[in-house]
């Protein structure tokens, strides 16, 4: 709580004093590669914003109170890149990685969130991208596996056989 308020004050100060974000948001693009490791696409925020958007509000075990997530479903992103495979390996900035079988990716879940409560997410705030489920919509989403798949600071996707 204290931390959060401090954080908010700092963010406000940064925006007022610098005018531009210190962290190169552009550099934090989503890199998609195929089974061979070949990069097939790199999507920045603008690219993702151009894709069909999905939005829902839910509580999470990591945040306080209901939160609204906006972004593109993972299936849409993969389709856009033309990626096919048995599973998708997702990796975060800190190299945390988790696999998700392709047949467990549905049209609606999970969501590759680009915004939380309408704001883009900084790295400090689990940005740039966060894989989330609409946990409140279905208790079946509230599993250890799905929590593990809810990877934040996501910046790489790679399909696997």
């Amino acid at each position: 709580m204290l931390f959060r308020s401090v954080l908010t004050l700092l963010q406000a100060a940064v925006l007022l004093t610098c005018g531009a974000p210190v962290l190169a948001q552009d550099a934090l693009a989503l890199i998609l590669s195929d089974q061979a490791g070949q990069v097939v696409a790199e999507y920045d925020l603008a690219d993702l914003d151009a894709m069909p958007q999905t939005e829902f509000t839910t509580t999470t075990i990591w945040t306080e109170g209901p939160v609204t997530f906006t972004g593109v479903t993972l299936a849409t992103v993969l389709d856009a890149a033309g990626l096919r495979g048995a599973s998708v390996s997702m990796t975060a900035l800190n190299d945390y990685s988790v696999d998700i079988p392709m047949d467990e990716i549905t049209e609606t879940a999970p969501l590759l969130a680009t915004r939380m409560d309408g704001e883009v997410m900084s790295v400090r705030d689990r940005g740039p991208y966060w894989i989330v489920y609409d946990y409140d919509a279905d208790p079946a989403f509230q599993t250890e596996t799905n929590y593990a798949r809810s990877i934040w600071q996501l910046n790489r996707l790679r399909t696997m056989d």
Binding site: R4, V6, T17, L23, I61, T63, P139, Q142, E144, A148
Partner: protein, 836 residues
């Protein structure tokens, strides 16, 4: 029972609910287990340490590198900072929040974050000073982060431990409850089993009783039919099948008023049923046995005796009828009634026959005995005299039997009439005793009379009948007692107006065996072996006495012990009356000399007419004949006669009517004495005869002696109604005592009478009337008993003369009394001589 069941159900329900709640809790907890409330907390916490370590490495690398990668430092810083968020916020944060130990650590981390952000967000490139400051911050915070990680680990372990324990407790509770429920169910099962066993047992007992009932119903000889409220038959036992002819299969479910109730009773049945169901007011139901008619299948109606009860079968009322076919009984009853009616008819016919026969026999007997009397007046050899005696005696016995039969018949037909009149009881009883005491003396028996106080007075009854009964009883006592005494007692219990008089005649004879106590009162009992007249009950005397007693509202009974004698008790209700004033003796105008009378004989039977003619002619009288009432009436109109002898039953005009006309019409014979004659008993025409105006009345056969008495009665100046010897009374005495004793009795009476007359004359002469009234009284009673009614009348005249204080009249009266006594004795002996 119901409460028990409700309690059991409630217990099961509560247990089930409890189990349901617990089960639900388990499910919730299971779901809690399946839903990961947090991701791996340890990971999250350790990740903080890891990222801070990574940042430290990046910072150290940048310090040692001449061309440091400051972007990498920034990225690592941001990543490290992002890791701090989840520790402070979210589910992991909850673990530390409000935990006293964690709070300072979190505050230190907060301060670290604020300092780091302060360095990072300071505009401009990170310089070496910044990096050094960052290194110092990182080095400073690492022990705290470590501490927090360890602490988180511990809290996590505790938390999952607590959850496990809670879950285990929950499981344990659920399990325990389940076990309790199972145990409860087990107990319930046991209870149910016991209940079931008991129910089965009861069911068995019920079935056994039901079987017994069924076999009882089936074995019943009475038909048993049960019907419901609508009248539909629901039970029909085998007796019912047999009686009604319907089989069970045919009739069950059908209505009674379509099957076993006769058509004419169906409406009444319906009405009765409706009324009962509406008001429950039963006429037949529960009313005991009633007789109704029922219908067989074949359509015949038959009488039944029926008893209907009702039972409640749930809401329905069930009617059960027990029926018995009584057609056979009814038939038998009818047969019995017919038989009884036939017997009654026969009995009446017999009585009628006896009455007619006795009348019809009396008429020829009149001829026989009359002629025998006449024959005696002719000159006969000794042998002829004996033959005539035998013939006359036989005739007398025959007459006696006819008379007795007639008496019995009269009693049985209810035509015996009593002539109640005020009479002095003491005089009546003493008369009987006086007459019979000579006989007792002859047999050396003491005859005692004990007269109860209060009985010496007048009663209203038929004194003649009472004397007749007493004569029979005392006469029998004397006849059957060889030694000892005869005790006659008269006692009474006085009611309001009437007295219950008891005449007890006790003897010291051989006694009567118990089996004969009733038999001796039966009719004709001993007639079959009537030789020597040795046993009681011979003839009809006792039977007539008892019947007479009963006719008078009393009874005649006997108590006896073999060897100790017998006591006959005659109990009669007698109405008490005051002694009547002596009636004035009516005067007769006709006074004629004794000889040569003119007599009109009116009689339809030619033989009897000629016999009477002969008798009267033999006595020196002139006779005129008429063969019926009308002829007699005409003859009476023509010329005056001294006496009219009038038969009562005649064709054309009977004697009653003729007498009435003679008395009514002014004619020469309007006040001529008329002697009525009848072949019937005394009773039937006595009243009519008196009313018609007959002076006297005789029963056939008329005997010569009687005729003489009647005629001699005409001689007396102040003669009352013409009287005669009462043959019936005399014969009864003869019957009671036997001929020889009767003769002795008569002799004794005669000698006593003569003594009495001598005394009377003496007292009359001296003018000292002392013993005379008692003597006259005594003689009068004796005379009445023997049937010497003529003497009785003369004694009454004497009695009157005594009261009249006229010595001349008294002397005259005594003289005519003596005269009458002579005549009477002759007549009585005459009668006696005709009896064997």
């Amino acid at each position: 029972m119901l409460a028990k069941r409700i309690a059991t159900l409630a217990v099961i329900l509560v247990l089930s609910l409890f189990l349901g709640v617990l089960g639900n809790n388990v499910l919730v907890q299971l779901r809690g287990l399946s839903i990961a409330e947090t991701d791996n907390m340890q990971w999250t916490i350790l990740q903080v340490e890891t990222e801070i370590a990574n940042l430290q490495v990046a910072v150290l690398e940048a310090l040692t590198d001449d061309n440091p990668d400051l972007d990498a430092v920034r990225l690592r810083s941001d990543i490290a900072l992002s890791r701090l968020g989840p520790v402070q916020n979210g589910r992991t944060g909850e673990l530390f929040r409000e935990n006293a130990q964690a709070m300072p650590l979190l505050a230190a981390i907060d301060a670290f974050a604020a300092s780091l952000i302060g360095i990072l967000d300071t505009p401009g490139r990170l310089d070496r000073v910044d990096l050094v400051e960052m290194r110092e911050l990182i080095v400073g915070i690492r022990p705290d982060v470590r501490q927090l990680a360890l602490f988180g680990l511990q809290l996590g372990v505790e938390r999952s431990e607590a959850r496990r324990v809670a879950f285990s407790d929950q499981l344990w509770r659920t399990g325990a409850t389940a076990i309790a429920l199972i145990a409860a169910l087990g107990v319930l099962l046991l209870v149910l089993d016991r209940v079931l066993a008991r129910a089965r047992q009861r069911d068995l007992a019920l079935r056994a009783s039901s079987d017994r009932l069924v076999s009882t119903v089936e074995a019943s000889l009475d038909a048993i039919v049960a019907a419901d409220q609508a009248g539909r038959i629901v039970q029909f036992n085998s007796a019912a099948e047999r009686i009604f002819g319907w089989t069970n299969a045919e009739i069950l479910g059908r209505k009674m008023d379509e099957t076993i109730i006769p058509p004419q009773h169906r409406n009444a049945h319906k009405a009765g049923m409706d009324r009962y169901l509406a008001t429950h007011e039963a006429h037949v139901v529960g009313g005991g046995r009633v007789e109704l008619s029922a219908l067989r299948k074949t359509g015949e109606e038959f009488p039944v005796e029926i008893n209907i009860t009702s039972v409640r079968d749930g809401a329905e009322e069930l009617f059960i009828a027990y029926l018995r076919d009584i057609s056979l009984r009814k038939i038998n009853e009818q047969k019995l009634i017919d038989a009884r009616d036939r017997a009654l008819r026969m009995d009446r016919a017999k009585s009628q026959f006896l009455a007619v026969m006795s009348h019809e026999m009396r008429t020829p007997l009149n001829g026989v005995l009359g002629v025998l009397d006449l024959l005696r007046t002719t000159k006969l050899t000794e042998r002829q005299e004996r033959y005539v005696g035998v013939a006359a005696a036989s005739g007398e016995i025959l007459l006696e039997h006819v008379n007795e039969a007639l008496d019995i018949t009269r009693i049985e037909m209810g035509s015996m009439s009593l002539s109640p009149a005020p009479f002095p009881l003491r005089r009546c009883v003493e008369g009987v005793v006086d007459v019979l005491s000579p006989l007792a003396q002859e047999r050396n028996l003491a005859l005692e009379l004990e007269f109860g106080t209060g009985m010496d007075r007048h009663f209203l009854a038929d004194g003649g009948r009472i004397a007749q009964m007493l004569t029979n009883l005392v006469g029998n006592a004397i006849k059957f007692t060889d030694a000892g005494s005869i005790h006659v007692s008269v006692t009474g219990i006085h009611g309001a107006d009437a007295t219950s008089a008891t005449f007890a005649v006790r003897d010291t004879g051989p006694g009567i065996s118990p089996e004969n106590h009733e038999r001796i009162f039966e009719d004709f009992v001993a007639l079959a072996h009537a030789e020597g007249r040795q046993s009681r009950g011979d003839g009809l005397g006792l039977s007539i006495a008892r019947k007479t007693a009963r006719l008078m509202g009393g009874d005649l009974t006997v108590t006896s012990k073999m060897g100790e004698g017998s006591t006959f008790s005659l109990v009669l209700p007698l109405e008490r009356v005051s002694a009547p004033a002596d009636a004035a003796t009516p005067e007769l105008t006709h006074t004629r000399p004794v000889s040569a009378r003119s007599i009109l004989v009116v009689e339809d039977n030619a033989i009897n007419r000629s016999v009477l003619h002969e008798m009267l002619k033999g006595l020196g009288h002139s006779v005129q004949e008429a063969k019926d009432g009308l002829e007699g009436l005409n003859a009476a109109k023509n010329c005056a006669v001294d006496l009219i002898i009038m038969d009562i039953s005649m064709p054309v005009m009977d004697g009653i009517e003729a007498t009435r006309r003679i008395r009514q019409e002014a004619g020469p014979n309007q006040s001529t004495p008329i002697l009525g004659l009848t072949a019937h008993g005394r009773e039937e025409y006595r009243t009519q005869a008196e009313q018609a105006g007959m002076t006297a009345f005789c029963t056939k056969p008329i005997r010569l002696a009687v005729l003489q008495e009647v005629l001699s009665g005409l001689d007396r100046a102040d003669l009352g109604p013409v009287v005669s010897i009462d043959g019936v009374v005399l014969r009864e005495m003869i019957d009671a005592l036997g001929v020889s004793r009767a003769r002795t009795t008569l002799d004794r009476f005669r000698s006593e009478f003569d003594d009495g007359i001598a005394l009377l004359l003496q007292e009359t002469e001296t003018g000292v009337i002392a013993e005379m009234p008692a003597l006259v009284h005594k003689l009068r009673g004796a005379a009445a008993m023997i049937g010497l009614t003529g003497i009785v009348v003369h004694l009454d005249v004497v009695s009157d003369a005594m009261a009249g204080d006229d010595p001349a009249a008294l002397t005259s009266a005594i003289q005519s009394l003596r005269h009458a006594a002579n005549a009477a004795q002759g007549q009585a002996l005459d009668i006696l001589s005709t009896v064997r």
